[in-house]
Each structure stands twice: as structure tokens, then as C-alpha cells.
Symmetry: C2
Subunit: 281 residues, 2 copies
């Protein structure tokens, strides 16, 4: 039985006549194949990536596992449609907090159509992409059983995410649902962002790969940061995870590093490093 | 006595009614103050940089020393004009080989005028800036007493520098003036690019700073790579030097790293690393 996922934070959700992703109970995520080149490019990426023996395992873990494509009953009731069958990266999470960060100051690329370039360029200039090298494009923060989950709608998200520093601090704070004038306490930052297996360590591992890899250029691709507040303290690690998602605009690297992704990733790393550095002051 | 420099490889040369840079015998380089915002921005940068105590000495050495501004007789005979007085970074070089590399896939920036942005965007897309994250914008390669210096004119440079890999290899080769079908021997690569004080080591030192510094954004700024073939072998080091030049478009970083410069710098580093890696195969 396929159902609409609880924890989608970016992209088009299923429903209202729009084709959205679905999940099953076995930890699979069914992503509708996008029309035209986007869909074919995303399939091509997953096939190429899955079979490329040059990708080290320490990097492979940052990508959803690919199980092929499958015709399944679409979420909008329009009948059988082709879907990518992927690992559901939040399937084993009860109350995850999730941030979707689109990396790169430039979400367009030379191979795209002029219309697409101008549309992207406009959005990059209107958001934090151009100045910061990335933008927060999806967010859900779990508070507690009482306060529940906070998931801003598209418009609030757009306003809220202009202050990237604040969002990155709130994401790891326990006093999120108090008065908005309260300073975020960042009480989860040491375990979620910090530590040898935390998000910063994972981003640095990714960075080292991006300094070297010239196979792919990850245009308009997102870093997903996921963690569960309830697991903090129970286990040694925070179970914070970084995953890369959305490969509809990945093109071949042709022997050149993805300097656009790398620059944005370094910028994100600097923001997160500063939050950790502030804690120790 | 001021004179026109022998070794200018990029920018507007003096002469033909155009205002160009001048040098003196004491190792000073007189750069005409550009009109409008460019000139004032470059002065503002040098003043701010010179007096900023947060710049470590290991980084300061990559920048020309600033000696203030001075009214001097302009190169075009138009009378006294304001000039920046800078360290002449090639004053102690007899037969230097020089490459000017403009760093960044984007040479425009949000604060610029719409006209300027479109002009830069066009050029970034026509050159290697967009795909590679940098473009070679000036070049002179010294061969020997017999063959002299090779300095392509603007048009040849534009064509020649499309193949960045080849230019970076020819730059450090002894068989430059042979048949164009001859593979560059890269015989100077180990001493010029490699080694603990070579160009790669210097670029990596710069990179580490750019991963951290959020003071300046170096839009449309160049890395100058300079070395002398004749000094190789005579001294322990190759005397290869990296300098940053051209700060007419530097703006404040406002707490964000210069992800555009950093991305392009990492791309250049990867190209040079590969040349060194190929040698050891």
C-alpha cells in the first residue's frame, strides 16, 4: 500500500491534482518521474551513480539507494505512472526535524534553455542563493509531543529563511516554540551539528569529495539535514544525517570540479562552524 | 623617472592615448586610478586591507604592498593624474613568465548595475569562467635568450586560453617554441607548480584562508602566477610566486565567505594538481 509521506519538506506534495511522491511500509520512496529532460536526467544520474565504481562507500552513503523505476498508481489518481523507487531517507524516523538546503549560488547551468536560465537567475537573486551560495528550500522542526511539528508554509518559509543564521540556530534549539524574541538556545547543536559523526563532520566529508570529483555537476541539488530530538541522549550519536537529493539537473562534470556546488557547500559549512564556535565562547 | 612596464600581461597598456600603468626604478608600480566607483573601490580596498590587523602575514604576502596614492604625469601625456602606488610584483624579475587568471565563475555581483551584470554574464558564458570557474586573461611565457618571450595578442589569447589544460602545461614547459604538435614536456612543473614553496602550495594556503575569511568578496580579481625559468636550478626554490591583483570590484563580505572566488580557486587547484599527478604516473 502506497501512501503520501508525512515528512516531505520541499518539492511538490501529492494531492490537489498534483503528482507527488509516495512511500510504502518497506522504506521505499516513490518519486514521480518528472516530464521531459528532467525525468530522464534524474534516471540517468541514478543509473550512472549506482554503477560507478569510482564512488567510494563513504560518499555513497550520502545518496538515497536507487531501486530502479516502476509504474505505480499515481498520487493524483491519474493511473499508472513511472516513478523512481528510492530509499526513503526518513522511513525509520518517528519525529524527524528536516531541512532542505538547495546548494549553489547558481541553480542554472550553460546547457539549460535561455528561459530556464533567466527564471533561475531571478530566483537566485531574490533568495539567499546568490549572496550566500545556498538557500533553505524546505523545513520542518519537531518540538515535542505537546507542541508538535512546525512546518512553515511556502510564503512564511520564504520570509523566514532570509535569516539563514537564525534558521540554522532554531533548527537545533529546544526553545523554538517560546516567544519569538527568545534567543534560540542551540541546545542540540553540539550533538546534531558537532561531534565526530555530526552534520558538520558529514559535510566536511562531502566537501573533500567535491574538491576532487569531476564526474558530476550537481546543479540545483539539495542537501537534506535530518535528525530526531528524541534520540538525542538515548544513543551515543545524534543520528543526524546528511543526504543529497534532487538530481533532475545533474550534468556530466567533464573533468572539471563542481565549483558552484563546492563554493555553496563551503559557505554552509562556515555558517554551521560559527554556530558551534559561538557555543564554546 | 617613470616608464611603461615591460611585463604587463592584462588590463589596458599605456600608450595610444590610453592611460596605462607606469613603474619606477625603486620597485613601485603606478596604477592609474580608474574612473568613478572602480577607482574609489580599489583605493578603499587597499586602505582597508593594509590596516586590517586580522589579515595574517602568511596571507598578506599574496597582495601587492600599498604605498598610497600619488599624482603623477600620466602615461598618455594628459598631465597629472591620481595613481595607486603599489609594489611592482615583477620588479626583481629579469625574464619572468606570467599568467593572469581571473577567478570566479561569476565576475558580476548583486551590487553592480544591470548593464554591468549583463555585460559580465555574457563574457562569463563566452569564456571558460562559467564552466571552469576561472579564465586566463593574460599571458607571457619566456622561452630562452634565442626564442625570447611569447606574448599572445588579445585575439590569440582568447582562442588559445579556451584549452586551459594545455596553457597551464605549456606555461611550465621547455619545448614551448617547437612545433605546435609537440606535447608540452612540463619539465618545470615539479619546481614551479610543485614543492613545498611552489604555486600549488601557495594556492592551497590561499584556499585555507578563503574557507574562513568573511571580510572581503573579491569579485573579478585575478591570481597572478610568476616565475623565472633562469632561476630554476640556481636556487633551491623556483621563486614561483602567487599574487592577487585587481581590486576595483571588491565589496564587503558581511560575514559570508567568498564562495564564488573559493569555488574557482579550488577548480584551478584541481587543474594544477592533475598536471603534477600526471608527472608521477
Amino acid at each position: 500500500m502506497l501512501k503520501v509521506p508525512d515528512h516531505q519538506v520541499a518539492g511538490h506534495p501529492a494531492g490537489n491534482g498534483v503528482l507527488g511522491p509516495l512511500i510504502d511500509d518497506s522504506g521505499n520512496f516513490y518519486k514521480p518521474l518528472q516530464s521531459g529532460e528532467r525525468g530522464s536526467r534524474e534516471v540517468a544520474f541514478y543509473i550512472s551513480f549506482s554503477s560507478n565504481i569510482k564512488i567510494p562507500d563513504r560518499i555513497r552513503k550520502f545518496f538515497p539507494i536507487y531501486h530502479g523505476t516502476k509504474l505505480v498508481e499515481a498520487s493524483d489518481g491519474s493511473g499508472l505512472q513511472p516513478h523512481l523507487v528510492l530509499e526513503d531517507v526518513v522511513s525509520n524516523r518517528l519525529n524527524p526535524s528536516i531541512m532542505d538546503i538547495k546548494i549553489g549560488s547558481r541553480t542554472w547551468y550553460p546547457q539549460a534553455s535561455e528561459d530556464y536560465i533567466l527564471k533561475c537567475l531571478k530566483k537566485d537573486r531574490e533568495t539567499t542563493s546568490l549572496p550566500l551560495g545556498f538557500r533553505i528550500s524546505g523545513l520542518q522542526i519537531y518540538g515535542s509531543k505537546e507542541s508538535g511539528v512546525w512546518k512553515p508554509d511556502k510564503k512564511s518559509l520564504k520570509n523566514f529563511t532570509k535569516d539563514v543564521r537564525l534558521v540554522l540556530r532554531k533548527f537545533v534549539s529546544s526553545n523554538l516554540f517560546e516567544d519569538s524574541s527568545t534567543e534560540p538556545d542551540c541546545s542540540f547543536a553540539p550533538t546534531v551539528y558537532g561531534g565526530s559523526t555530526g552534520i558538520l563532520a558529514q559535510l566536511l566529508e562531502l566537501k573533500a569529495w567535491f574538491e576532487d570529483q569531476t564526474i558530476f555537476h550537481f546543479n540545483s541539488c539539495s542537501v537534506l539535514m535530518v535528525f530526531e530530538k528524541e534520540s538525542i541522549g538515548k544513543v551515543m550519536s545524534s543520528s543526524a544525517t546528511v543526504k543529497l537529493v534532487d538530481f533532475a539537473h545533474v550534468v556530466e562534470g567533464n573533468g572539471v570540479i563542481d565549483h558552484n556546488f563546492l563554493g555553496g557547500l563551503c559557505s554552509l559549512i562556515k555558517f554551521i562552524s560559527e554556530i558551534l564556535a559561538d557555543l564554546t565562547l
